[in-house]
Amino acid sequence: MYLYIYDAFVQDKKYEKELQKVENRLTDLGIAGKIVRLGLFRRADEFIRDEVKRGGATTVVAVGNDATVRQVIDVAVEAKVVLGIIPFGPDNRIAAMFGVPEGEAACDVLSARIVETIDTGVVNNKRFICEVSIPAAKAEINCEENYKVTPQGRGTIGVRNLFVPGENESGPVSNPFDGRLEVVINIATKSGGWNFWRSERGESVLPLKSFDVRTQEPVTILIDGVPSDGTRFDFSVEPGTLKVVTGKNRVF
């Protein structure tokens, strides 16, 4: 059975027509299911756990954006159900990586049901699919208790599980099947030569399984686009733990 989790913003009037089209298409395809509408005080994980306990839900579909998916990942992994996405609105990077088009067209991808099993990253007991961004700060990375990596300056750190660089992004492609997270450190270093003030960007890449990042001052990190505060972030990877419905335009 399909369980559809509607994010609160999807219930806005501006999405009403598009949502109606989606619901009609799901009915035509024979994959309509139970709908849960999230609100300010309604958590997705409780509903999903209840439905799985009853033996009903085998596929959970996040109807919304990356933030909606973020609310569903943990319970989808724990309950071993398949995760689908019907993207609405802005901030839909995860859906784009999965090759799922926006709105009504996503229903056909869901119906075709190409399921892949990918790794998930974990930061402070919260799972993520694509990337955690840590803003420029004085930081150190302790790697598998064997060695310490220290950027000699304020560097941004990206921790990536599934990542293909976009137009204004750099770094390697991150493979969600390799059982590792790529840590990408970008810092500006002063170059020598004729222009003293010119700086160059040095990009370090470390494929790791478990490590922690500690910052000297509190920072706000983005976990698949969702903010979280702290000074210590413990990372690990859970290989092959998340089943996802993907489209033919997926990047992996």
Binding site: C143, N146, Y147, K148, V149, T150, P151, Q152, G153, G155, V164, P172, V173, N175, P176, F177, D178, G179, R180, E182, I185, I187, A188, T189, E200, G202, E203, S204, V205, L206, P207, P239, V251, F252
Partner: protein, 122 residues
């Protein structure tokens, strides 16, 4: 896009760029490029590249290596070691195949095929 069969077995490429310092026992299952600073030890199962601005104070072991910067420590390479023209090695070298460019400096003993072949001082 991704190779699922080999994805889990490969260590991936590690790059330690300028402006990054590594302290401790660094290990990698794959290839490693170092342009920054390393203190401790380095074990790379694959190919190791040490850039011209790299500063390494560590014992190093690698499958093969190309060195353009400075290494202070003993180095063991199971395959070929290329020392480029401005490289400097302060430590003993154990290697199967060695290539030394003019201008490269070795301060230490060189052992090839398990036997000490020469003792070189720059």
């Amino acid at each position: 896009m991704f190779n699922r069969d080999e994805g889990g077995r490969e260590g991936g490429v590690t790059i330690i760029a300028r402006g990054v310092r590594v302290e401790g026992d660094f290990t990698s299952d794959g290839n490693v490029t170092i342009e920054g600073e390393v203190v401790g030890s380095i074990k790379a199962a694959g190919h190791l590249e040490v850039g011209s601005e790299a500063k390494i104070k560590a014992d190093v072991s690698a499958g093969s290596a190309v060195v353009a910067g400075d290494i202070s420590g003993n180095i063991v390479v199971t395959g070929k070691l290329d020392l480029l023209e401005n490289s400097r090695l302060d430590g003993d070298v154990t290697v199967n195949v060695l290539s030394v460019a003019p201008g490269a400096k070795i301060n230490g003993r060189v052992t090839m095929n398990g036997k000490i072949e020469t003792e070189a001082v720059s």
